[in-house]
C-alpha cells in the first residue's frame, strides 16, 4: 500500500515536469491575413481601416506590452515613448506609411518658400480634459516647457529660432534652417498637454494625475508603476461620436510568456511584439496574428573606417554580404514572419530602388573576394552585439562567416556599453540588437545622429552634407531622391549590411477592432479614438 502511494505521488509530481518541458514543433503560421512580402499584403480586416463593419459602443479595452511603465506623465516629466499616454494626449500632426505629414490638432500648415517659416493653423473649439482651451498659447507653452526642462524631445526644437502667435489659433515657427524632421517630430511623438495642468507643481508620484491632461479621447483615471494605466472615456472629445469604448487600460509586464498567458486567460485583448515562435504557436491555436505596417531592418556594420581592419577593404565587406544566406535566416529564424533584406527599404517604401547590388548567398564568391583582398585563409574578428539581439541571429551570422574562413568571436555587451561603442567606436562587426526602423526618421536618425555617430563606419565623401541635405529639401520628392542617393552609396560600398526585415508581431482577440497599432509609421502609435470592441 505504502509503495503504491509513493509511486502514485512520484507520478503525480512528475506530470507537471513533463508538461512544462514539452514544446511544440513550429509549423507554418496560422495567420488569417498578413504581409506576404513587406509592405504589399492585405492588412487584417478591421485593423487598419480597410472596410471594417460599423463600430459598436461600449466595453473596456485592455492590452499588454513588455515595454515597461517606469513613469507616467507628460514629456516634460521625462516620460519617453507614447504608447502609455496615447489615450490622453494627442499631437499637432500625424504621418502616414510614407512619412508624409497629415493634419491632426493642426488642421493645416504653410511652409515659406525657403522652408524656414512654418505656420500651423490649429483646430478651433477643442478643450483639454480640464476645460482649458486648446490654442496657440497652449502649444507654445508645451514647446517652451519641453525646451526649458531639457527633456528628450527637446532636440526637436533646437532648430527653432523663434515662435510667434499672430492669433489664438495660429502659431508660427521660424527655423534657422528648413528641416523636414521638425514636422516629422511634431507628427510622431510630440504630444500636447494642458498648460493649466502642466504648470501645476507636482511630485514624481503624481505626474500622471497632475500632468496627463490632454485633448485625447480618454481621461487619465489611475495607474500603478510598472503595472497598468487606466483611462476613462472623455465625453467632450472633439471628434464627435468617439471614442467607442468606455475605458482603455494599458498593462505592462517584463515577461512575454506571462503576457501571452494573460491574453489566453482573456484578461487582455492584445499583446504586442511577439517572438516568431510565439506567433507560430498562437496562430496554430487559432489566434489572430496582426502584422502592423511597420518594419525594422537588422544590420551589420563593419569597422570600415579602421585602416587596420580587414573590413577597410571593400572586397572584404562584399565577402561578408556574400557569406550570409539571408533567405535561410529569414525563414528559419523568422518562421515566415521575417524577410531577407538587401537594402534599407521595404517593398512600397518611396525610397525603395532598383539597380542596387544584390549580393546573394555565394560562399565561393565570398572566399574568392577574401583571397583577392589578401585573406586566402580568412581572418579572426569580433562580432559586437548587445543583449537585445536574438541569439539565433548572432549564431547564424557567426556560422556563415566561419564557413568562408572568417572566425568571429562574440562580444555581448549590455545596452549602456553597446551605446558607448556606437559613440566611441568598435573593432570588428557591429550587430545592433535593436534594428533600424524602416522609416524616414529611423533611417536618417541612424545615419545622421549627433550622439550615436558610429565613428568606426567609413563615411563616404560629403557624408555629413549629404545626410543633412535629406531633411533640408522642401519638396518631398527631392527629399526622397537625396535619401535614395545616400542609401545607394551605403549599399554599393557595402558600408552597412542589411540582412533581414522584422515586424512587431502582435496577437489580437476577435473582439478588438481598429486599434491601428504602429500605423502611421510611428512605433508607439495606436488610435484609442477609433478602436472598438465587437459586442456579442
Amino acid at each position: 500500500m505504502k509503495k503504491i502511494l509513493i509511486i502514485s505521488l512520484i507520478l503525480l509530481i512528475s506530470i507537471p515536469l513533463f508538461i512544462g518541458c514539452s514544446s511544440e514543433s513550429p509549423t507554418s503560421p496560422g495567420i488569417t491575413s498578413s504581409f506576404s512580402t513587406p509592405g504589399s499584403a492585405t492588412p487584417v480586416s478591421g485593423q487598419s481601416g480597410v472596410s471594417s463593419p460599423q463600430p459598436q459602443y461600449g466595453g473596456h479595452m485592455k492590452w499588454i506590452h513588455t515595454g515597461g511603465m517606469p513613469i507616467l506623465g507628460h514629456a516634460i516629466d521625462g516620460v519617453f515613448g507614447t504608447r502609455n499616454t496615447r489615450p490622453a494626449l494627442e499631437g499637432l500632426l500625424l504621418s502616414d506609411e510614407q512619412d508624409r505629414i497629415h493634419p491632426w490638432l493642426a488642421e493645416s500648415w504653410d511652409v515659406s518658400p525657403d522652408g524656414k517659416v512654418i505656420t500651423l493653423h490649429l483646430r478651433k473649439g477643442i478643450k483639454f480634459h480640464d476645460g482649458t482651451d486648446f490654442n496657440a498659447q497652449a502649444v507654445k507653452y508645451n514647446v517652451d516647457q519641453t525646451v526649458e526642462k531639457n527633456v528628450p524631445g527637446s532636440a526637436a526644437f533646437t532648430n527653432v529660432k523663434s515662435i510667434q502667435i499672430p492669433d489664438d489659433y495660429t502659431i508660427v515657427f521660424t527655423l534657422d534652417k528648413y528641416d523636414y524632421a521638425f514636422l516629422l517630430r511634431l507628427a510622431q511623438g510630440f504630444l500636447i498637454g494642458s498648460p493649466t495642468a502642466l504648470s501645476k507643481p507636482t511630485t514624481p508620484e503624481n505626474t500622471a494625475k497632475d500632468h496627463l491632461v490632454g485633448t485625447g479621447p480618454f481621461k487619465f483615471d489611475s495607474w500603478s508603476v510598472e503595472q497598468f494605466a487606466r483611462f476613462t472615456k472623455f465625453s467632450n472629445y472633439w471628434q464627435k461620436g468617439k471614442p467607442y469604448v468606455d475605458s482603455v487600460e494599458v498593462r505592462t509586464t517584463p515577461d512575454i510568456t506571462v503576457a501571452i498567458m494573460s491574453f489566453k486567460a482573456k484578461e487582455v485583448n492584445f499583446v504586442d511584439v511577439l517572438d516568431p515562435s510565439d506567433a507560430v504557436a498562437l496562430a496554430k491555436e487559432g489566434y489572430e496574428i496582426y502584422l502592423p505596417p511597420l518594419f525594422f531592418v537588422h544590420v551589420i556594420i563593419p569597422d570600415s573606417a579602421n585602416p587596420q581592419s580587414p573590413f577597410a577593404d571593400k572586397r572584404v565587406r562584399e565577402a561578408l554580404e556574400y557569406a550570409l544566406n539571408r533567405e535561410a535566416m529569414a525563414q528559419t529564424i523568422g518562421k515566415g514572419y521575417m524577410f531577407p533584406a538587401y537594402q534599407i527599404a521595404t517593398k512600397g517604401d518611396p525610397w525603395e530602388q532598383t539597380g542596387l547590388p544584390v549580393r546573394q548567398y555565394n560562399p565561393s564568391k565570398a572566399k574568392r573576394l577574401l583571397a583577392e583582398a589578401g585573406y586566402p585563409n580568412g581572418f579572426k574578428t569580433t562580432i559586437v552585439s548587445d543583449v537585445r539581439i536574438r541569439r539565433d541571429q548572432l549564431v547564424a551570422v557567426q556560422t556563415y562567416l566561419k564557413e568562408v574562413g572568417i572566425d568571429a568571436s562574440i562580444d555581448m555587451a549590455d545596452v549602456p556599453r553597446f551605446n558607448s561603442l556606437t559613440q566611441s567606436g568598435w573593432s570588428g562587426l557591429l550587430m545592433p540588437g535593436f534594428p533600424v526602423g524602416s522609416t524616414l526618421m529611423g533611417i536618417v536618425g541612424h545615419f545622421n545622429d549627433t550622439v550615436f555617430t558610429y565613428p568606426s563606419r567609413k563615411q563616404f565623401e560629403g557624408y555629413k552634407d549629404k545626410w543633412d541635405a535629406v531633411f533640408r529639401q522642401t519638396d518631398y520628392e527631392q527629399m526622397i531622391t537625396q535619401l535614395k542617393a545616400n542609401l545607394k552609396i551605403e549599399i554599393e560600398e557595402a558600408l552597412i549590411t542589411p540582412y533581414i526585415y522584422d515586424q512587431p508581431r502582435c496577437v489580437i482577440d476577435d473582439k478588438l477592432q481598429d486599434m491601428n497599432w504602429t500605423k502611421r509609421h510611428t512605433f508607439d502609435y495606436w488610435s484609442p479614438a477609433d478602436l472598438w470592441l465587437k459586442q456579442k
Binding site: 505504502k2 502511494l5 509513493i6 512520484i10 509530481i13 507537471p16 508538461i19 512544462g20 515597461g68 517606469p70 513613469i71 516629466d77 519617453f80 531639457n150 528628450p152 527637446s154 532636440a155 533646437t158 517630430r185 510622431q188 511623438g189 510630440f190 511630485t203 514624481p204 508620484e205 500603478s224 508603476v225 510598472e226 503595472q227 497598468f228 509586464t253 517584463p254 515577461d255 510568456t257 506571462v258 498567458m261 494573460s262 489566453k264 486567460a265 484578461e267 555587451a413 549590455d414 545596452v415 549602456p416 556599453r417 553597446f418 551605446n419 558607448s420 559613440q423 535593436f434 533600424v436 526602423g437 526618421m441 529611423g442 536618425g445 545622429d449 549627433t450 550622439v451 550615436f452 512605433f523
Partner: protein, 318 residues
C-alpha cells in the same frame, strides 16, 4: 549584551561602507554610459551634445570617482539617496514606492516558510522512517532543486489560465483592497517561500533527529511527559539554534529571490527595481539598493545572533 550589540552595529556600519565602496567603483569602472540610455534611435528622444553634457553635470557624472562617492555618501547621511538616471525621480521616492511591496511579500513569505518549514521538519523527525517522512523529504528535495521562475509560470498556467481562479500577474496593496491583495499574493508568495520551506524542513528534521537521542529527552519520556510537551518544550527549542541561523539566511534569500518572482509576476518591488537599474547602469539606484539590502542582511544577522541567547541560556554576550 548592550556592548555586544553596539560592537556588532559598528561592525555592520563598516560592512555597509565597504559594500557601497565596492559596488560604487565596480559599477562606474564598467564600460557603458548610462546617459546614453536617454537616447532613442527613433530620433524623437535624441539630445544634442550640449544637452548631454548638461545632464552629465546634473547627475554629477562629470566629477572624479572619489568626489562622486563622497558626494553620494554625504547625501545619504542627509537622507538624500540621489536621483535616478533611468526613472528621473528621486531614489528615495522610488524606494518608498517599491520597498513596502517587497517587504509585504517578503514578510508573508518569511512567515509562511518559517511556519511550514519548521512544522514539516518536526513532522518528518517525529514520524521518521514512515511514509510521511519519505514524502515530505522528497518534496523538500524537489523544492530545493526546481527553479522558482519555472514554478511561477507553471502556477500561472494552472491557476490563472486553466482554472481561472487567480489573476495572472500584478500586485494590489492590502490597504487598498485586502481581498484582491491576497488573491494576487498567493502565487508569488508561495514561489518566494518554496525554497525556504524546503531548506527549513530539511534543517529542522536534521536538528530534531540530533536532539532526539539525547539523554534528557530519554529522561523526559521516562518521566511520562506527553509527546507534545517533549517535542515543543524540549526537543524543538534546543533544535532551533541552527534553524534560527538558517532563518536569518532566508531573509537574504527571500530578498534575492524577489528579483525573479517580481519579474515573473510583474510586481513592482525592490527586486525589479534593482534588476532594471543594473541593466541600465542606473548608479544612484544601484547604490541605494545595495545599501538597503546590505542593511537588511546585517540587521537580520544581528537579530539572529541576539535570539540565540533566548533559545539557549548558556549563550551570553559580553
Amino acid at each position: 549584551m548592550g556592548s555586544y550589540i553596539l560592537r556588532r552595529l559598528v561592525q555592520g556600519l563598516l560592512i555597509l561602507l565597504l559594500a557601497t565602496i565596492l559596488v560604487f567603483f565596480i559599477m562606474r569602472l564598467m564600460p557603458g554610459d548610462p546617459l546614453l540610455l536617454y537616447m532613442s534611435t527613433q530620433d524623437i528622444g535624441t539630445l544634442t551634445t550640449e544637452q548631454m553634457e548638461a545632464l552629465r553635470h546634473q547627475y554629477g557624472l562629470d566629477k572624479t570617482l572619489p568626489e562622486q562617492y563622497i558626494s553620494w555618501l554625504g547625501g545619504v547621511l542627509r537622507g538624500d539617496l540621489g536621483k535616478s538616471i533611468y526613472y528621473r525621480m528621486e531614489v528615495i521616492s522610488l524606494v518608498k514606492q517599491r520597498m513596502p511591496i517587497t517587504i509585504n511579500l517578503g514578510i508573508e513569505a518569511f512567515i509562511l516558510s518559517s511556519l511550514l518549514g519548521i512544522f514539516f521538519g518536526v513532522i518528518c523527525a517525529v514520524r521518521r522512517a514512515t511514509w510521511i517522512d519519505t514524502v515530505f523529504t522528497i518534496l523538500a528535495n524537489l523544492g530545493i532543486t526546481v527553479p522558482t521562475f519555472w514554478v511561477g509560470i507553471l502556477l500561472i498556467y494552472f491557476f490563472s489560465l486553466k482554472l481561472g481562479l487567480l489573476p495572472t500577474t500584478g500586485y494590489v496593496s492590502p490597504i487598498k483592497d485586502f481581498g484582491a491583495s491576497i488573491r494576487h499574493s498567493i502565487m508569488p508568495v508561495f514561489c518566494l517561500s518554496l525554497f525556504s520551506i524546503a531548506a527549513l524542513t530539511r534543517q529542522t528534521r536534521s536538528s530534531m533527529l540530533e536532539i532526539v537521542s539525547q539523554d534528557y529527552i530519554r529522561t523526559a519520556w521516562a518521566k511520562g511527559l506527553s509527546e507534545k510537551i517533549i517535542i515543543i518544550r524540549h526537543q524543538l527549542k534546543n533544535a532551533l539554534i541552527p534553524v534560527i541561523t538558517m532563518l536569518g539566511m532566508q531573509v537574504a534569500m527571500i530578498f534575492g529571490g524577489s528579483v525573479i518572482i517580481e519579474t515573473v509576476f510583474n510586481i513592482p518591488g525592490m527586486g525589479r527595481l534593482l534588476t532594471t537599474s543594473v541593466f541600465q547602469h542606473d548608479f544612484p539606484v544601484i547604490q541605494a539598493g545595495t545599501l538597503i539590502m546590505a542593511s537588511v542582511i546585517v540587521l537580520s544577522n544581528l537579530l539572529v545572533d541576539i535570539s540565540y541567547g533566548w533559545f539557549d541560556p548558556r549563550i551570553r554576550y559580553g
